[in-house]
C-alpha cells in the first residue's frame, strides 16, 4: 500500500469522505471483478461492490494496518458474496449483462470478440457450478494470484482447508469442462443442420 493510500485512510478516519472516494476509485476494479466472478451477474456485482465499500467505510476504524488493505477489502467482498450465494442457493446467470472486459488487443475483430464472450460465459458457467467458498478460493488463486496462506486469511479458513477446497474445485472444473463443451457444441451443430432432413 502506497504512502498516499495510507494518507487517504487517515484522512477518511478524520472524517474526510472524498479521501475514501479515492480509495473506491483505486480498488473498484478488483472488488467488482471478485463480486462479478462470484455472483455471475453484472447488476448484482455492482450492488455487492457498493456494499463492500460501504462496509469497509463503516469498519475502517477496526482495520488492522499490519494487514494488507486490498486483502482486507477483498475479504469483505468475498464474505458478502458467499453470504449472498448461500441465501439464494441457486445461481442465476444473466447472459445479457456482460460487463466490460479487458481485451488484449483493441483492434476490431468480431470473431475474436464472439469467441472471447463464449469463453467468458463458459468460464462463468463452470464457476457457477462450484460451491461459494470453493469458487472464492479459485477466483482468489487465479485472478488475484493469492497464495494458499493469503486465501486462508481472506476466507477465514485454515491452509489445509484451502488446499482441499482448491483440489476439489480443480477436479470439478476439469470434470465439468467437457460437459460445457458438449453443451456449447450442440446448439451450434443444430444451427448448421440441414432443415430438409
Amino acid at each position: 500500500m502506497s504512502d498516499l493510500q495510507v494518507e487517504w485512510l487517515e484522512q477518511t478516519l478524520g472524517g474526510d469522505e472524498t479521501a475514501f472516494a479515492n480509495i473506491v476509485e483505486t480498488y473498484q476494479r478488483p472488488v467488482y471483478n471478485l463480486c462479478y466472478r462470484m455472483l455471475g451477474d453484472a447488476v448484482e456485482a455492482e450492488d455487492a461492490a457498493q456494499e463492500t465499500f460501504w462496509r469497509a467505510y463503516q469498519a475502517l476504524d477496526r482495520y488492522d494496518p499490519k494487514r494488507p488493505f486490498p486483502t482486507w477489502l477483498l475479504s469483505i467482498a468475498a464474505h458478502y458474496c458467499i453470504d449472498q450465494q448461500r441465501k439464494r442457493r441457486i445461481p442465476i446467470l444473466s447472459m445479457d449483462l456482460l460487463p466490460e472486459e479487458d481485451a488484449p488487443d483493441s483492434a476490431p475483430n468480431p470473431e475474436r470478440v464472439v469467441s472471447e464472450l463464449e469463453e467468458t460465459s463458459q468460464m462463468r458457467r463452470l464457476l457457477s457450478r462450484l460451491g461459494p467458498q470453493d469458487r472464492a478460493a479459485v477466483i482468489l488463486r487465479y485472478w488475484y494470484e493469492f497464495s494458499e496462506e493469503e486465501i486462508a486469511r481472506t476466507l477465514s479458513l485454515t491452509v489445509s482447508a484451502v488446499k482441499s477446497r482448491l483440489h476439489r474445485a480443480r477436479k470439478e472444473l476439469a470434470q465439468n469442462w467437457r460437459e460445457t463443451q458438449v453443451k456449447n457444441a450442440l446448439p451450434e451443430r443444430r444451427k448448421n443442420e440441414s432443415p430438409a432432413i
Binding site: L13, G14, H167, A174
Partner: protein, 181 residues
C-alpha cells in the same frame, strides 16, 4: 485402480520432484481416466490463465458517493426511530412500575380522593398565581415588565435551541462516528 496421488499431482504440479514427475508420466501412459482428467484440466487451466478482470460501468465512485449520502440519511432515520422507541419503551415501563406500586400500596377509593384533592389544590394555586401576577403588574413600572418579558423569551428560545441541538446530535451518533477520531 488407485488414482492417488496422481490425481492430486495432475491438478497441481507445484512442488513435484523429478521422480514424482516420472512416476506421474508412467501412470499417465497406462491410465486413460487420468489422461482424460489431465486433458480437461489443461484446457481449464489455459482458460484460467487467460483470465480477464471485469470492470464496473463508468461512474462507480460517483454512484458510491451518492449512495453514501442515502445510506447516511437512512442510518439517521433508523437512529431517530431507535431513540424514539427507547424513550417510548422507557416511559411505558415507568408507567407500568408506577401502576404496580399504586396497586400494591393503595385502593381505587384512595386514588379518587387524592385526584380530587390534587385538582382542587391545583386550582387554588393557579388562582394565587393569577392574583400574584396581577398585583405585580399593577405595582411595577411598564419598562421593568417589558424588560423581564424580553429576558424570559430569550431564555426560552435558548433553552429550545439547546434541546433541538441535543436531540439532533443524539439521533446521529454512530452515523458520523468517523468524525470523532
Amino acid at each position: 485402480m488407485s488414482h492417488q496421488p496422481f490425481e492430486t499431482w495432475i491438478l497441481d504440479h507445484a512442488g513435484l520432484s523429478m521422480a514424482d514427475r516420472r512416476a506421474l508420466q508412467e501412470h499417465l501412459d497406462t491410465c486413460q481416466q487420468c489422461q482424460r482428467l489431465q486433458r480437461q484440466w489443461e484446457s481449464v487451466h489455459q482458460e484460467l490463465r487467460a483470465r480477464r478482470m471485469a470492470a464496473p460501468a463508468p461512474g462507480f465512485t460517483q454512484r458510491w458517493m451518492s449512495g453514501l449520502a442515502e445510506r447516511r440519511a437512512q442510518e439517521q432515520r433508523k437512529q431517530a426511530w431507535r431513540i424514539f422507541g427507547i424513550f417510548l419503551g422507557g416511559s411505558f415501563l415507568i408507567l407500568l412500575l408506577l401502576a404496580g406500586y399504586l396497586m400494591a400500596t393503595s385502593s381505587p377509593a384512595d386514588w379518587l380522593t387524592a385526584a380530587v384533592r390534587a385538582a382542587s389544590s391545583t386550582a387554588a394555586i393557579l388562582n394565587l398565581c393569577v392574583y400574584a401576577v396581577r398585583t405585580w403588574l399593577s405595582n411595577t413600572p411598564l419598562a421593568v415588565n417589558l424588560a423581564l418579558w424580553i429576558y424570559l423569551m430569550i431564555a426560552l428560545c435558548l433553552m429550545s435551541l439547546a434541546w433541538v441541538l441535543i436531540v439532533w446530535r443524539t439521533s446521529i451518533v454512530g452515523v458520523f462516528k468517523h468524525e470523532t477520531h
